[in-house]
């Protein structure tokens, strides 16, 4: 499927809320996330483990398992709201218009079926071709993702392939239905560095050829720099910064983004130890009031006791931080949506 670009985004997530009712309490894994992906563009979603990036992706695929549930928001894709789509219509989207590949190529393929048959299954589920034809198409797909001797490999079981090969098989399976959107959840994290680069190159090449959009989830800003057009930075279930790739790298606004960028080791730079963001992610069962990042934030101010909204600090550049667009602490009057008295009281309590 190729569609005309009429300006509406391919995927628009609006105020998505995915909660997990665990025995210990409610975990708001995704809490009011909004972003959109343009046709053919690549959006990078970055954040630490547990920030909700994978849950966001699984929410789009409607693969959230109990006790998790999408409790609010919309996921608009191709004019349909995926959140309340009937199961059988959702199955038509899943693996067809939207495909997904996962972090663990070692365990993501079924060990008792051959690679070829697993790809052919995806094709025959959506493509209307079955049997030998689907199998032939599966071998074609394996060739496309750069697997040598594809016909023989198609007859092999996953355990006979290396991790990089298996991820190629996963990509072949995901792309066998020509999806408009590929969701890649840390596709290279489990792979050797050299294989990582190969897989990224492959994804780039296939993106050009198939003109598909990619939602690339990773904690690796290097991967984002390599692949993405736009970036969403997530922290504790919320979007904290969002813009195009250049802005995030050249003018990051949120202190968390600063921290992420500072923690990338650079070649040719002599440093005794890596920069780290101090502290740990807050306990999702007991999130603090106010800005969720303030306890780890080098710029924390009294006003951070009040949760900052996600606001546009420059055209197309959103940040969830009280710092002014220039990166300065706001004066009391500038803090939008807050009561000066509350800010003063907060300031007092911090001083004590």
């Amino acid at each position: 499927m190729t569609r005309q670009d009429d300006g509406t985004p391919l995927l628009a997530i609006k105020n998505l809320q995915t909660h997990f009712a665990t025995a210990d309490g409610l975990v708001k894994a995704v809490d009011g996330v909004s972003f959109s992906i343009r046709n053919g563009a690549t959006l990078g979603v970055v954040g630490e483990s547990g920030c909700g990036k994978s849950v966001t992706a699984l929410s789009v695929m409607r693969l959230i398992e109990r006790p998790g549930r999408v409790v609010g928001g919309e996921i608009l894709f191709d004019g349909k709201n995926l959140v309340d789509l009937p199961d059988d219509e959702m199955r038509e989207v899943r693996g067809n218009a939207i495909s997904m590949i996962f972090q663990e190529p070692m365990t993501s393929l079924n060990p008792v079926f051959t690679c070829g048959s697993q790809i052919a299954e995806a094709i025959s589920t959506h493509g209307g071709i079955t049997g030998d034809e689907a199998h032939k198409r599966a071998i074609e797909m394996l060739t496309q993702v750069g697997i040598p001797d594809a016909a023989r490999r198609a007859g092999e079981y996953p355990h006979q392939l290396s991790g990089g090969m298996r991820q190629r098989v996963m990509i072949a399976m995901a792309l066998s239905t020509n999806p408009d959107l590929l969701i890649a959840d840390e596709p290279t994290t489990a792979l050797d560095v050299t294989i990582q680069a190969q897989i990224l190159e492959l994804m780039k090449a296939l993106r050009e050829r198939n003109r598909m959009a990619i939602m690339l989830i990773t904690h690796d800003l290097g991967v984002i720099a390599e692949m993405a057009d736009d970036v969403v930075v997530m922290y504790a279930g919320k979007v904290v910064e969002q813009s195009d790739i250049l802005t995030v790298y050249e003018h990051p606004h949120h202190p968390y983004t600063h921290g992420l960028l500072a923690s990338i080791p650079r070649l040719g730079e002599k440093r005794e130890r890596l920069e780290v963001i101090k502290g740990v992610v807050p306990n999702p069962l007991n999130l603090p009031a106010g800005c969720l990042f303030r306890r780890r934030c080098p710029n924390a101010m009294p006003i951070c006791e009040v949760a900052p909204p996600l606001q546009e600090i420059a055209p197309g550049h959103l940040s969830r931080c009280w710092l002014t667009p220039a990166g300065d602490p706001p004066s009391v009057g500038e803090a939008p949506g807050t009561d000066a008295a509350l800010v003063a009281a907060a300031a007092l309590s911090v001083e004590q």
Partner: protein
């Protein structure tokens, strides 16, 4: 594969010798003697001594063992290979071979019934984990697993034979109806139900656990992400993997198929190997006890080998 099987069979030889020594010692060192039941005031000590000599029990244990063990393996050609029964003087081999069909009917049919019922129950429980149906079935499984076989058998007889008069009380054939398959199945109903209820309780737990383990694997999420129907995800991708340990379990059940279900056979007077061995133990009928124990031991070894072979057949990751 062939060399693997050969190697395993060679490895089995010392194990079989070990089993023989241990079972021979246990049988002979157990208190009581085959001639005890003849010791009444009216039987002279001389007669008793003659009997002991006749059975060869006067010879040293090592001599008895070597004689028995070397003779034992000639059974394909010699019907006296396993000795003669102390109770009726018949060749033990023929006594045992005559019982095998009855035992296989009972254990085979009950295993078949068990698998056919337990696998779907386990799958159903796994896909609805912690639901009301899962919890209720779990309760029944626990009760079934805890229930003594003899008690369940007696209760079924009391209800369905004595009170409702639907099924026969004991035996495998009505008088004069030997070889009548419908009559046999009618007699099988209660003993098979007894065995199956208790086996289903265990097997469905295995199946549930195996299925739950598989359902949380990454490849199940992959299958869903392809847009497959839930039926295809569960019954193709998950079940095929969840059955692998069950197949292994089947291999390990083979010895039980032949050694019979001693308690159930005794409760229902089912003329199988299990009942025979219980009687033999009570009578201190050494040759029969030893033969049934040896069959059991060899079957355990073969069953394990069979389980390993079956494993390689159903799981492409295993090769020998």
């Amino acid at each position: 594969m062939a060399s693997y099987i050969l190697r395993r069979l060679l490895q089995a030889i010392p194990i079989v010798i070990g089993i023989s020594v241990v079972s021979f010692l246990i049988v002979h060192l157990t208190p009581g003697s085959p001639v005890d039941k003849f010791r009444t005031p009216r039987v002279s000590p001389e007669t008793i001594n003659n009997l002991i000599r006749l059975y060869g029990l006067d010879q040293p244990l090592p001599t008895q063992f070597v004689k028995w063990f070397t003779h034992f393996w000639t059974f394909p050609f010699d019907n006296s290979a396993w000795g003669y029964s102390f109770t009726d003087g018949l060749p033990v081999r023929d006594k045992i071979f005559a019982r095998i069909p009855s035992t296989l009917w009972l254990t085979g049919v009950s295993l078949l019934v068990t698998v056919i019922i337990a696998v779907p129950i386990g799958v159903l429980q796994a896909i609805r984990q912690y639901s009301w149906s899962d919890k209720i079935i779990t309760t029944f499984e626990t009760i079934g697993y805890a229930m003594p076989t003899f008690w369940l058998g007696l209760m079924l007889k009391q209800t369905f034979s004595v009170q409702l008069n639907l099924f026969p009380l004991f035996g495998e054939n009505s008088f004069g109806k030997n070889g009548d398959i419908l009559d046999l199945l009618w007699h099988l109903a209660l003993p098979v139900t007894t065995l199956a209820i208790i086996q289903i309780a265990g097997w469905s737990r295995y199946m549930r656990a195996s299925m739950l383990e598989v359902l949380r694997q990454d490849y199940i999420r992959t299958a869903r992400s392809k847009g497959l129907t839930e039926r295809s995800v569960v019954f193709k991708h998950a079940l095929r993997n969840a059955l692998i340990p069950i197949v292994t379990l089947l291999g390990l059940t083979v010895p039980a198929l032949l050694s019979g279900a001693a308690i159930t056979e005794t409760v229902f007077s089912w003329p199988g190997l299990g009942w025979l061995s219980v009687q033999a133990v009570t009578d201190r009928d050494y040759p029969v006890v030893l033969a049934t124990v040896m069959i059991g031991g060899v079957m355990v070894i073969l069953g394990n080998l069979l389980a390993d072979i079956a494993y390689a057949v159903v799981d492409p990751r295993i090769t020998y």
